[in-house]
Subunit: 163 residues, 2 copies
């Protein structure tokens, strides 16, 4: 295999740093680092999102939960199983539909959720501390538009239903 130097104009390289996809990956890396450093090494931000959704809707079923936190069904299954094993969540049968399982926090899960919520709120403050009030507001607004449109695109492509 020959090494062929392929010089590319400088503008090109700079350009990569202005690609939304590249910036989103770096933002996700920063967020993961801050989460591990400031919030928890044991509970991931995804597990916390699931705990939050269950706290907000006790006896939620797993499909609704999957939509609520925007995780595909196989990922949500793994996350829920982990939380069940650790005793943070319990599963019960829906009395109205015996095929449906409903999820609720245990006392320990509710306690963990409350503790992490405090740390996560502080961490978020640190994540956006370089931004003005207006920019924080705009970031949330713009990312919401992007993810809602993107998730709708994905759901349509995958046959009309959610993954």
């Amino acid at each position: 295999m020959n090494a062929v130097p392929v010089p590319v104009p400088q503008a090109f390289e700079t350009d990569m740093h202005r690609q939304p996809g590249h910036l989103i990956r770096r933002a996700q890396q920063v967020h993961t680092w801050l989460w591990t450093t400031d919030v928890s090494k044991e509970v991931t931000s995804t597990q916390f999102a699931v705990l939050t959704a269950i706290a907000a809707s006790p006896y939620i079923d797993q499909n609704s939960l999957s939509r609520q936190v925007s995780l595909d069904t196989s990922t949500i299954g793994d996350v829920v199983n982990r939380l069940l094993e650790r005793g943070y969540v319990v599963r019960s049968r829906d009395p109205d539909d015996r095929r449906r399982n409903l999820l609720t926090l245990t006392e320990e899960g509710a306690r963990l959720h409350a503790v992490i919520l405090v740390a996560a709120t502080r961490m978020t403050e640190r994540l956006v501390e370089s931004l003005s009030e207006q920019d924080r507001h705009d970031l949330v607004r713009i990312l919401s538009t992007l993810v809602e449109a993107g998730e709708a695109l994905r759901d349509t492509a995958e046959g009309g239903g959610r993954r």
Copy 2:
């Protein structure tokens, strides 16, 4: 373990969807889905970022490359090894410093890079198609500020050097 329903005010749940961290994770999921669907199942966006940085700076050393694409040294090592194995990149010894390895694209790597660049540009267009011109511009500006401040925070925390 007792199931303890812990009702949380409705505002709380809505709030999760307005958390920058949560939105960044969903944006990253959308980006990964679009990349796999529209660009490549074989080459990841991270591998493409590395190919792009090497294309822009032939004979770049691995530390500079790690900084250029914002990947920690162990991750960049894995990505580079994968690209070396597949014959997209070659490594040569720096004649001025025999401990340094320099990286260059092979002919096949340059060809792959050019092909993916076209598809990635189209994919980016789709990623942001729901946004106005102004919002696209603001997203890049705000995320750049956030990741630069966050990466600086991480580098300081990890002892002044880059990971």
